[in-house]
Structure formats: C-alpha cells, structure tokens
C-alpha cells in the first residue's frame, strides 16, 4: 500500500513538489511566529510578583539637592498626611526601581567565590505590603532590620534558583554588595514589565527618609476615582513645596506598557491565521480539482472491487505522506535553531512551537483532504468510467 502511494506521488512529482514546498514553508512561518507568541504567553503566565490595581506611584523631584534634615522631616510629614487621606491604605517609599519605571540596576560580584549577577532594588519596610507582594519564605523588612548587625536583604526565587540551588539560605549571610543577612524570599518582582524575564533580583532595605527614596508607592482603597489624583498631587505639592512631582496609576501604565507587546502579537497571530486559511482554501481547491481529474482511475478501482472507503483512504494517505515529508523536513531545519541556541529565545519555547506547528499543519491538511476524498469515494463506478 505504502509503496503504491509513493509511486502515485512520484508519478505527479512536479505538482507534488510545489505542494511539498508550500507545506514546508508554511510550517517554517508558523514555527517562527508561534515561537514568539509562546514565549510571550509563557512570560505573561508567570507571576508578576506585585499588584497594579489601585496602586499609584508618586515620583518626587529634586530631593537629592535638598538638605537631608529637611528631607527627613518632609518625608515624615508626607507619610503622615498621605496616610490620613481617606482613600490611601498604605504608603511606602522606594528608590526608582518601582514597577514600569524603566530604570534598572545590575551588579556583578564574586565575593562568595562564584559569580553573582543580579538586578538590584531598594525599598523600605512598607513596600511589600503596599504592592501586595508575595513573600514565600521568611519575611519582608522590618524597622529593626535597619539596626541589625548585618543589613537585611530579600531575594527573589530566581536569585535562589540561580545561585543557591537547594540550599536553605534564610538568615544566612550573603556577600553581595557587602555582607547582608537574607531574611526573606519573594516569588518574583518583574518590575520591567509583564513580558520580561524573571531575572535574579535582590532587594535591599532603605530608610524612608533617605533622599534617594524618591518614589512613593500608594495603595489606594478599591475603586478610587482617577480624579482623586489631583487631591494627592496637591497634597504632595504643599508638603514638598514643589510642583514637579509626577503621579502614575500603575494599572494604566501596565496596560500602556503591555500594549507594545500585544499589538505585534495580535498582528502576528492574525497574519498567521490568515495564512492558514489561505493555504487551507488553496489546498482544498487543488485537491478537489486533482481528485476530480482522476475519475477514471477511481472508476477503474471501484469496478475491480475497491470499497469506497479504500478510495478515500488512498487520497488521504497520499496527502498525509506528502505532509509528513514536508513537516519532517521543516522540523529538521527548525530544530537546528534551539539545538545550536541561535536567536534570543529560550529553546523550550521553540520545542513547544515545533509541536504545535506540526499539529496545526496535520489538522489543516486532514481537514482539506477530507471532503474532496469523500466525494471521490462516493462516485459511482459507471459515472466515473464514462468520463474517459
């Protein structure tokens, strides 16, 4: 049977070669597009590590050029007055590594005998509470930690997985930017955006009154209207005696930020969807035509006793063999990319992409071949033979 099918394919090698190339190229396009889509969907499904709904951030300006005592009293007043507002539930201060701020700081160090490369972030004791962060082991900073023998640090899970695999490091000293006591582990803090990798990251404690703690994170009561921003801005302006502070609604910033990824993603998906429909239609038309042209052959086979299901099986088999060859060829080329680690994506995304592209191609071809071959099998031998 198989041998026979190969013979049939070989007999029409010219047009079959074109179909083969088409399936092969469609597979490659699907593979490339889906790799990107899968990468982003996987990023999105990871925890961000913080909430954005009803979270506001106020950026204070020009604190470093002011007198430190002045900043200290101003910060304390600001904290008190903000907490007194009826819609504000929590107030925290942090250095500029708040979500979506676009700032980042990376540090390398090998004081512990091996290379540690990690993102850094600096926040005070209320920060985790204000952003609803998930501390999965140990605890977040407390006031007393500032006076401890060793300053405190909190790392994310990715930091632990990368540098201290399988070790319980809580309350141990980690020598990275000086000796710090690790007091807690958070699940993630992907502050660069929803679609970014969860890179190793370490939090260090800073006091509220430090001049560089110029980002104020506000956790607002649920459903606080946007117009309330003006009240907050006015209060901040009257306390800081400067009108150059900025206020941002994190949820809005997040939506804006992720739009940059969503738009190409949706464009890519719709283009791929269109390509699939286009190819399916073309394939359907072509098969329908080719099968119609082989009426003589069908009639002959039916006349010498082939069952109608044999006929449809033959046509489906033919196109399936062709598809397997094309997709196999496609997989051979596609798999070189993750194997040799070409390109910026992690291999796992591409393996998934290969699996899904293969399934889509097979499904597509089966769907296209099903109707024409069933029609062919329904042909009455007498009618089929009369044609020639």
């Amino acid at each position: 049977m198989i041998k026979h099918i190969f013979k049939m394919i070989w007999n029409k090698r010219g047009s079959n070669a074109l179909i083969l190339i088409e399936i092969f190229l469609a597979f490659l396009v699907l593979f490339a597009a889906l790799s990107y889509v899968i990468y982003n969907v996987r990023m999105l499904s990871n925890p961000k590590g913080y909430e954005t709904e009803d979270k506001w951030v106020v950026y204070l300006d020009g604190l470093s050029s002011r007198d430190s005592l002045d900043v200290l009293t101003m910060k304390n007043t600001l904290y008190r007055e903000l907490m007194d507002l009826e819609n504000v539930e929590q107030v925290a201060f942090a250095q500029s590594f708040t979500p979506f701020s676009g700032n980042r700081s990376i540090k390398n160090g090998d004081a512990m005998g091996f290379e540690i490369r990690s993102l850094l972030a600096f926040a005070d004791k209320d920060f985790a509470d204000a952003l609803d962060m998930n501390v999965i082991d140990g605890r977040w900073f407390q006031e007393e930690d500032l006076n401890g023998t060793y300053p405190a640090m909190v790392a994310n899970q990715s930091f632990m997985d990368e540098f201290f695999v399988g070790k319980d490091m809580i309350d141990s000293i980690i020598d990275f930017r000086g000796e710090h006591r690790l007091i807690g582990i958070i699940d993630a803090y992907r502050y660069l955006g929803e679609f970014t990798e969860d890179d190793p990251l370490a939090f260090y404690q800073i006091a509220r009154h430090e001049p560089y703690a110029d980002n104020v994170v506000l956790s607002m009561r649920k459903g606080t209207p946007t117009a309330y921003e003006e009240t907050v801005t006015k209060l901040v302006a009257s306390v800081t005696k400067s009108t150059s502070s900025l206020i941002n609604n994190l949820d809005k910033v997040r939506k804006n930020d992720s739009r940059d990824t969503w738009i190409p993603l949706i464009a890519l998906l719709s283009i791929c969807g269109f390509l699939c429909i286009n190819i399916a239609l073309g394939m359907f038309g072509m098969l329908w035509y080719n099968i119609n042209k082989r009426k003589g052959e069908i009639g002959l086979r039916r006349a010498i006793g082939a069952h109608s299901s044999d006929i449809s099986k033959q046509f489906i088999f033919e196109i399936m063999v062709l598809t397997f060859i094309a997709v196999g060829l496609g997989i051979f080329f596609a798999i070189q990319v993750p194997l040799f680690k070409i390109g910026p994506l992690e291999p796992i995304n591409m393996y998934w992409s290969i699996v899904i592209s293969t399934l889509i191609m097979l499904l597509l071809v089966t769907l296209c071949a099903f109707n024409p071959s069933r029609q062919a099998s329904k042909l009455h031998p007498a009618i089929a033979l009369r044609e020639d």
């Binding site: 088409e22 396009v29 946007t226 390509l275 072509m286």
Partner: protein, 440 residues
C-alpha cells in the same frame, strides 16, 4: 487583442465562483498586508517632516563610564613528563570584574566635544525625559517636555502652523518660551489654532507659547514630545561632568562612516580626570536606522542590530509573500489544465508559444490587479481603523503616491510570478494531447 484577453479573463473569473473566491481572498489579503507594511515603512522611514534629514542623522544616545579592574591571574597546571610531575604556570593579564554606569550625556560635554566636527554640518542636543502632571478641568494631562537648543529646529524640520521657533538669545537668556504640538494645544487649550501668547504653567513657571507645530506622524522620541522649551531650563542637567539627560543628533555632510569615526576619535580625547573612579569612556554613535533596529533587538554593536533586524524582516516578509504565491501557482497549475482544449484549438490555428504565454500571464495580471484593488480597499479600511484607534501610538499611516506606486509594483510582481509557471507549462502543451482527451 488585449481587449480579448480582458474579456477572456473576466469569463474565466466568473465561471468557477468558488475558485475565484479562493484566489481573490488570497491575493487581496496578502496584498493588503504588504500594503500595510509599505505604509508603515513609509511613515517611519519615508523622510517625512520633521524627519526629512533622517538619512544623514548620527545619534549619540548613551555614554558608558566603566571601571575595569585588571589583574594578573596565575594558573598552575600539573603536567607529567616522563613520569615526573612538572608544574606549568601561565600568567594571564585580564579584566577581573568591572563596574559601569550607562546614562544619557551631560549637555556641556556634548557641546564641547562634538559640536565642531569637520564632517558634520549641524548638531542639536535635547533631553526628553521631563514629564509634568497638569490638571485641566478635573482631568490629568501628562506633558512630556523636550528641552532642546535652538538648532533643534534646523535638524528636525517641523511644520509650523503658527508662530516661530525660539532662537539662540532666548536659549541663552532662559526665556520662558515654548513651542507646543497640536495635540497639546487641543488637550490643554481645547483649540487647534490661535494659541500664541497664551501661557502654560509648569513647575511654577509660566511658559509663553510662541509657536505651534503639526503633530509628527512617526515615532522617534525627540519629535513626539508635547512641548519644546530652551534646554537651559533643565534643572538637573549637570549632576555629573559626564552623565546627564541629554542626547545629540548630528547631521553628517558626507559619508556616515566618516562622521562616526570622527565622533569616536573625539570621544577618545575626552579626559576622565574629573571622575577618577572610572577608567574607560565609551560612546556609540549610530545612524537613525541602527538606533531603530537596536530598539527592536538590542546588540551592543548597532550595526549588528540593524543587520539582524533587516534580515529577519526580509526573511519573514519574503516567506510571507512566497506562501500565497506558491498557493496561487498550485491552484493555477491544476486549473489551467481545464483549458487545454482551448489552447489546443488556438495552437492548431497557428498561435505561437509566446502568444499563449503572454495571454496567460496577462490574464493572471488582470486577476491580481482585481485582487489588488480589493486589497487596496481593505488596506484603506485597515489604515483608517489603525489611525482612528491610535494603536500605533503617534504613527499615522498615510496613503500617498509613493504608496500607490509600491502597491502597484507589488501587484504586478505577484501576478507575473504566480502566472508564469502555469502559463509556461501550458504553452509547451502538444496540440494533439491538448485536443485528444477533452471534449470541446
């Protein structure tokens, strides 16, 4: 003769509705997407105002200061020579850890070192990272301010709706003047004209509007800001002798390579005395296209970014266009057999191979042009939708002559390519075979 071909093409199209639908669907959507890509490229790289000089632009965006600690590292290796252990020590002088600081430039550093280069005809410095919250009628407007020098208006050719740019004396005197974009006039004053002389309050200072410019239709950072004021107002502009918040755009008056090399040479001569903590200063001049590519795919070498992005784009677009073409060829090859009797008759009456070939390619071009027309309508609707919903941010897609031209070329290319192979196959047909099997 061509009239006949057109008639024939129309007949063929209306004969088998389903196949016509498949074909037109494929052609029109493919062409629509190619047209959208063309429109996007036109918007971003089509040298429209205010980016008319984009092909001459060299951008200095970031400065990197770094301290590399070099160390002599001894590696001791034990070798066995004739059964006796021998110690082989190698010394390697290499970098052992580094700390670096990357940021925008200090404006004075840019002016002192890069303003008077020989291969550069004009330079401008600007800083776009100032944002201000302003409340108008209970709603918040976030104003992005561009602090720039007076030469900014020579490098970027904005279209002034009314008023004028600020000049050197206004920059030097820190005059409170501003040029605003139309979108800010709309959101702040609620009008699109007649805003000269009005004031906008930022950080306690009142800026007088002296110019109103048309909103740009592309996306580069320096031009999409809402408001332009003299750079001398930037308060935090000199927190270090090297780092700051400014970038520079230089217009090369010759080859970009020369200008880049001159910039690199000038950068080598900057002394690091004022910041002894660092021992290396790195700048990376890049062209506008390289900067664009670097934003999409970051590589430290901007040229590599550009070549990676362009190859990827080229590959994806050609793959994308190739598929529908193949699809069309496949369809045509199987369909054209239908007409073997017609060809047989024509050949029997003396038509040459070339005539048959021309006829079929011509028919195919007509079909793709119809598909192209449909695609054009679809693209028109899509462009309207995209501009209306502001999906692409500040980018506005436009339909202009160049767009028409490219779209037409794409259509013809498509038609010839998808029609040639089937037509060639048909034209080779033997008269006897063509006439034998099919009834007329």
């Amino acid at each position: 003769m061509f009239k006949n071909y057109i008639k024939l093409a129309w007949r063929v199209l209306s004969r088998k509705k389903f196949f016509t639908f498949i074909m037109l669907f494929g052609i029109s959507f493919t062409l629509m997407i190619l047209m959208l890509i063309t429109a996007y490229m036109q918007a971003e790289f089509g040298s429209r105002a205010p980016m008319k000089n984009q092909d001459d632009m060299v951008v200095l965006e970031y400065i990197t200061l770094q301290r590399v600690n070099y160390d002599t590292i001894a590696v001791v290796d034990t070798l066995f020579e004739n059964g006796v252990a021998v110690y082989d020590t190698t010394y390697d002088y290499k970098s052992a850890g580094r700390s670096m600081n990357r940021s925008y430039f200090n404006p004075d550093l840019l002016i002192d070192n890069f303003r008077d280069l020989k291969t550069v005809k004009e330079t401008t410095i600007f800083s776009t990272n100032s944002l201000f919250d302003v409340f108008v009628n209970n709603s918040k407007i976030q104003i992005q301010v561009n602090h720039c020098d007076e030469r900014f208006w020579d490098v970027f050719n904005f279209e002034f709706i009314e008023g004028r740019p600020f000049d050197l004396s206004e920059v030097e005197q820190q005059a409170h003047v501003a040029v605003i974009a139309k979108k800010l006039a709309k959101s702040y004053f609620g009008m699109e004209k007649g805003v000269l002389g009005k004031t906008i309050e930022l950080d306690g200072k009142n800026y007088e509007v002296i110019g109103l410019v048309e909103d740009p239709t592309s996306s580069p950072d320096p031009i999409i800001t809402d408001m332009f004021v003299p750079y001398t107002h930037q308060v935090s502009r000199s927190n270090s002798d090297y780092l700051g918040s400014f970038a520079m755009v230089l217009l090369a008056n010759g080859r970009m390579e020369k200008t880049k090399n001159e910039i690199l040479f000038a950068a080598e001569n900057i002394s690091l005395d004022k910041q002894s903590h660092f021992n290396e200063l790195i700048v990376s001049p890049k062209t506008y296209h390289e900067m664009y590519a670097q934003n999409l795919y970051y590589n430290e070498d901007p040229e590599k970014s550009l070549s990676f992005v362009s190859w990827l784009l080229f590959g994806l677009i050609s793959l994308f266009a190739l598929l529908p073409i193949l699809n069309l060829i496949n369809l045509n090859v199987s369909r054209i057999m239908d007409r073997s009797s017609e060809i047989g008759v024509r050949k029997a009456f003396g038509a040459t191979k070339n005539e048959i070939l021309t006829q079929f390619v011509f028919e195919n071009i007509i079909q793709t042009l119809i598909g192209g027309l449909l695609g054009f309508v679809l693209a028109f609707l899509a462009i309207y939708f995209i501009n209306d919903s502001k999906i692409l941010g500040s980018i506005v897609l436009e339909i202009d002559l160049v767009f028409f031209f490219y779209s037409f070329i794409i259509c013809i290319f498509f038609g010839v390519l998808s029609g040639l192979l089937p037509a060639f196959k048909m034209s080779k047909l033997q008269i006897v075979n063509a006439l034998k099997t099919n009834q007329l």
